[in-house]
């Protein structure tokens, strides 16, 4: 008995792990794997491949495994992707996979369920798995709790309420057609409620795209006046000569980026052309334009000054950290602090001697952790939300096309919209719908 659809899921924990593991199970596993990496690798061998997105862009250098069934964990054809564990990459691969024909996100426990259906689990494995499964249900409990407490839950509960309202109204118009006060107004009210919900879902979807942009990964931008040692600082942090360093002001013309693991998350560190009033040439001028753009896009802005050359940052930008570089040039107590803005951290560093670098790393670690707090689990959840919400929107649009003589089809569309959200909000319970009808209407016999 083949369930038909191929399922996929992020099987590793999300967030700060260095590696994220995606599992696929079902007949389309091979096609999905081939679509991303080209030719299928040798079965049951870990192979390093370039992961290429549907738009031709390189996603990652990943380790992939092709596991033809039935000798697999689920008894079906399977594939695994071991990718770098960045939230952006995870979200992107989720999107790539969910856009493929015949693939859908797995329900909680569905791999186990398939393994079960295909008699792939025996007593030993079952006992061995039980701990693992306990952890899974714990995670689900955790997920449910998050849905009931946080910001996400408030939104989902509101949608759920909106959907309830629409469905109950339509159901009331169908099942209580004889009631003088129900049927007549229900259709119009249901449409209004559905439209409100549709607007909200559409807005939320747009919002989630913005949230995802934030989640693409954190960009730390190092900026400051020319020749304050920005490039030296970058090199010191990444412990290699990523940027050319010279005593000539304006050496760095373009954005130099280097990747760094901070708090278990890849962070892109950008060194920028120094900012000064007059550029020496057109190239430096263009470099400064790019610097300004990078600063605008920065998640974390580090403003660098030299102790002997204090230069306040432009008022348009508020740095998250001010670094006083070249601390080796002056005795500690004689350093003049040019920037006394409140709430901005300040560190004395010598990129040259290495003093203060540990404090800078610690500060960056703390700041990155703070930024990612909550996002850690939210990536997958929100990606699931995105898929569910898009589907829900599609069904609600269908529902709004229906005429009054097709209320039962409208109800079916709304039930489908509800089902699309069901993995997030739990089952749509008919007793709740009826309860809602009875609460809002005076139903006689």
């Amino acid at each position: 008995m083949n369930p038909g659809k191929t399922i996929f899921a992020l099987s590793s924990g999300s967030g700060r792990a260095g590696i994220a593991v995606f599992r696929l199970s079902g007949p389309a596993s091979a096609a999905a794997l081939a679509a991303l990496v080209g030719a299928l690798p040798e079965p049951r061998r870990f192979s390093q491949r370039r992961l290429v997105a549907s738009d031709g862009g390189l996603l990652d250098q990943a380790v992939v495994v092709w596991l033809p069934g039935p000798g697999t964990a689920t008894g079906e054809d399977m594939a695994e992707f071991h990718i770098h564990g960045g939230p952006a990459l995870i979200a992107r691969l989720l999107r790539e996979l969910s856009a493929m024909a015949g693939l859908r996100l797995a329900e909680p426990g569905e791999f186990t369920r398939r393994a079960f259906d295909n008699e792939r689990l025996d007593l030993l494995e079952v006992e061995g798995l039980s701990d693992l499964l306990a952890a899974e249900s714990e995670a689900q409990r955790h997920l449910a709790m998050r849905q009931f407490s946080g910001e996400v839950s408030g939104q989902i509960e509101r949608w759920r309420g909106g959907l309830f309202e629409s469905v109950s109204l339509v159901e009331a118009a169908i099942d209580f057609a004889e009631e003088d006060d129900v049927a007549g107004r229900a259709f119009g009210q249901a449409r209004a409620a559905a439209r409100t919900l549709l607007d909200e879902l559409t807005d939320a979807l747009a919002g989630s795209e913005r949230a995802e942009a934030v989640r693409r990964g954190l960009r730390v931008v190092i900026a400051g006046a020319p020749n304050v040692g920005k490039s030296s600082l970058l090199n010191a942090l990444v412990e290699r000569d990523a940027a050319i360093v010279s005593p000539v002001p304006g050496t760095t013309r373009d954005i130099i980026e280097a990747s760094l693991m901070i708090a278990g998350i890849p962070v892109s560190l950008a060194d920028t052309a120094g900012l000064r009033d007059a550029a020496a040439d057109a190239i430096e001028a263009e470099g400064m334009v790019r610097t300004a753009r990078a600063i605008s896009d920065a998640d974390i802005l580090v403003w660098v000054e030299a102790v002997d050359q204090p230069e306040e940052h432009p008022a348009a930008w508020t740095p998250d950290l001010v670094v006083l570089n070249k601390a080796d040039l002056m005795p500690r107590d004689s350093i003049r602090i040019s920037n006394d803005q409140e709430g901005t951290a300040l560190l004395r560093v010598s990129a040259k001697s290495g003093s203060g670098l540990d404090a800078l790393r610690a500060w960056l670690g703390k700041e990155v952790s703070r930024r990612l707090d909550g996002v850690e689990h939210a990536v997958v959840v929100r990606e699931r939300h995105r898929i569910a919400v898009s589907e829900s929107i599609r069904f609600l649009n269908d529902a709004l096309q229906r005429r009054e003589d097709a209320l039962e089809i409208m109800a079916e569309d709304m039930r489908n919209a509800a089902r699309a959200l069901a993995s997030l909000t739990g089952r749509m319970d008919v007793e709740e719908v009826l309860g809602r009808i009875f609460a809002d209407f005076c139903i006689g016999k």
Binding site: G109, T112, F116, L121, L123, Q140, I409, F438, I443
Partner: protein, 621 residues
């Protein structure tokens, strides 16, 4: 010693009649034990059969060759197809019935039924031998031996009528309640609950100012319930509509403390969708008026049922408030309304065959299971009677699932979720609603009924003829086709994509109707009306059929995984305390049923699957 009967049915109401007839049709030597023959088929509450969801149940009973549809067709004096302006899936046939004609038709059906003996007696208890059902004992001391018993006691178990401050032990007005069965069921370890229902006063139609009221005519021609009824021959009448007034509401509000519902005298839970008038006025104080249908109870009967003002207020208050209603200013009350409380068995004590899990051989159907309504009772009666007969014959139980019938939806709801108020059928309870239509009940169920030996020769032949017509229609509509260009030429709005489309595909398009097709293919006009309507409905929902079929396959897969009845839920790791308790109470028969238990989680289901697998797994070598 050989038992006198295979199946004994206790109770001659809607559940009992259908149970007795089904058991007898299935070949069991059957006894129907009821207080008095003349009350068989009594409509204790409103004189109507069918409605939304309920009409589906009547059609399903009929498709299984049950009696309710045919009896209602013989007794119906006003037929209306509800939701006629909506899609076919949610249309529900309904009829006002002449109460006397209904009784007589039902009594005749019982008398004509082969294998069925009617015994006038008050059943008082079950006879158990070695833990098995051996028959029943009557109040006058007779023992009637039987292999299986179906209890359909309605509101008689510890029945208590409330009329204002008065309390009258009774199963129905003028009929004594039964106490023995309640005690015995409790001693079997069954959980009992208490529910309440109510009925309005009956009015003397000669004293109603009909000419002041809004008339509601029936359908012309009337749509019958039974697939075997070709024409309604009983004369048809109208119903009338009136409304409560400010004065009505004031009188009720002033006297609400005298209603046993509000004085604390009634402990049972009543149905939300059939509230008493005092409930409506109390809960919806902002509404200044409520609608009342005045339903004649018979052709030669002056008694009128005022649908919408069920009440248990004292008689003099009823008299006062009813006279404030337009058209009823000078009305004479024949009999006051009342509320009745009664015991019911928690239906999670039953399996999907409606058999009591703790007592082999005992089946329950109707209000005893916490439902309300004649149709709900009849459908359960049919299933319980059938399975009692099958048990007596040593055959495996027959079941109906949610994907094939409203009967299956109802039984699954009852045995899985239990009841917190009297359970009534609604179309919204059926998740496969678009597939489960009143018009295709025979297509869904009659073949299954034939396999179960429930269907007589007459229906067999009629069914075969209908199926042949439908097959012909289906074949014709899939064979006839034209290109997009030809469709456009014929005036149809079709995408000019060069595709050929079948007549069925065209019919599925929102702007194409059947008369468009007959214009193009005149041979289609030869199809009988029912076949045309069936094709229209199938085409209308065809876009949803695939998705629902996929869900049905998923549903069936979950329902194919059985859970042993002795599974120790307390010992399954990972289940929450709440789920353990619920599972231990319901003891679901399958994984599918377990998923439908209120509060079940995906993680919980996974735990169950693993626990289930353990004993069968390969040994740990």
């Amino acid at each position: 010693m050989k038992a006198a009967f295979d199946v004994i049915v206790v109770g001659g109401g809607h559940a009992g009649c259908e149970a007795a007839a089904a058991a007898a049709r299935a070949g069991a030597r059957t006894a129907l034990v009821t207080h008095r023959f003349v009350t068989i088929g009594e409509m204790s509450c409103n004189p109507a059969i069918g409605g939304l969801g309920k009409g589906h149940l009547v059609r399903e009973v009929d498709a299984l060759d049950g009696v309710m549809g045919r009896v209602a067709d013989a007794a119906g004096i006003q037929f209306r197809l509800l939701n006629r302006s909506k899609g076919p899936a949610v249309r529900g046939p309904r009829a006002q019935a002449d109460r006397k004609l209904y009784r007589l038709a039902m009594q005749q059906a019982m008398m004509e039924q082969e294998n069925l003996e009617i015994i006038e007696a008050a059943a008082e208890g079950l006879i158990l031998k070695d833990g098995l059902i051996a028959g029943i004992v009557t109040e006058d001391g007779r023992n009637i031996s039987g292999l299986a018993v179906v209890l359909t006691t309605g509101t008689f178990l510890n029945g208590l009528i409330h009329l204002g401050e008065k309390k009258i032990p009774a199963g129905r007005v003028g009929e004594p309640p039964s106490h023995g069965f309640s005690r015995q069921l409790a001693s079997l370890g069954l959980r009992l609950g208490r529910l309440k229902t109510g009925t309005p006063a009956r009015l003397d139609g000669k004293t109603i100012a009909w000419d002041q009221l809004e008339e509601q005519k029936g359908d012309d021609p009337p749509v019958p319930f039974s697939f075997l009824t070709w024409q309604i021959t009983t004369p048809q009448i109208s119903c009338f509509i009136t409304h409560t007034s400010d004065r009505t509401h004031r009188i009720i509000a002033d006297n609400i403390g005298r209603s046993p519902l509000y004085s604390g005298q009634i402990s049972g839970v009543g149905p939300r969708y059939c509230p008493s008038i005092e409930d409506k006025i109390h809960r919806f104080a902002d509404k200044s008026s409520h609608q009342i249908f005045l339903e004649p109870e018979g052709l030669d009967d002056d008694s009128v049922y005022p649908n919408g003002i069920s009440t248990s207020l004292p008689e003099e208050v009823q008299d006062a408030f009813i006279r404030t209603i337009a058209g009823l200013e000078n009305v004479r009350i024949i009999r006051p309304g009342y509320a009745i409380e009664y015991d019911h068995v928690d239906p999670t004590e039953l399996d999907h065959a409606l058999a009591v899990k703790k007592q082999p051989g005992l089946f329950l159907a109707g209000q005893i299971n916490g439902t309300t309504g004649y149709e709900e009772a009849a459908a359960q009666g049919l299933l319980a009677g059938l399975n009692a007969a099958r048990l007596a014959a040593g055959q495996p139980a027959a079941q109906f699932d949610r994907t094939e019938s409203y009967l299956g939806v109802m039984v699954d709801d009852l045995v899985t979720r239990g009841v917190s108020e009297p359970y009534r059928m609604f179309t919204s309870r059926a998740e496969f609603r678009l597939m489960l239509r009143a018009d295709n009940a025979d297509q869904r169920l009659t073949a299954k009924g034939m396999a179960l030996g429930l269907v007589g020769a007459g229906r067999h032949a009629a069914f075969a003829a209908r199926m042949a017509d439908l097959d012909h229609a289906r074949d014709l509509l899939s064979r006839l086709n034209l290109t997009s260009a030809a469709a456009a030429k014929a005036g149809l709005k079709v995408n000019q994509d060069g595709q050929r489309r079948s007549a069925f595909q065209l019919l599925a398009m929102p702007d194409v109707n059947f008369s468009d097709l007959t214009r193009i293919w005149p041979e289609l006009s030869a199809l009988p009306d029912f076949a045309r309507e069936a094709m229209e409905a199938d085409a209308l929902y065809s876009g949803y059929a695939d998705r629902q079929k996929e869900e049905i396959a998923h549903f069936r897969r979950d329902d194919a995984v059985t859970l042993p009845p002795d599974l120790d839920y307390a010992a399954i790791p990972g289940l929450s305390m709440e789920l353990r308790q619920k599972l231990s109470r319901v003891k679901p028969a399958t994984i599918g049923q377990a998923t439908r238990i209120d509060g079940m989680t995906p993680a919980g289901v996974t735990c169950l699957l693993l626990a289930l697998r353990k004993p069968k797994g390969r040994s740990a070598a």
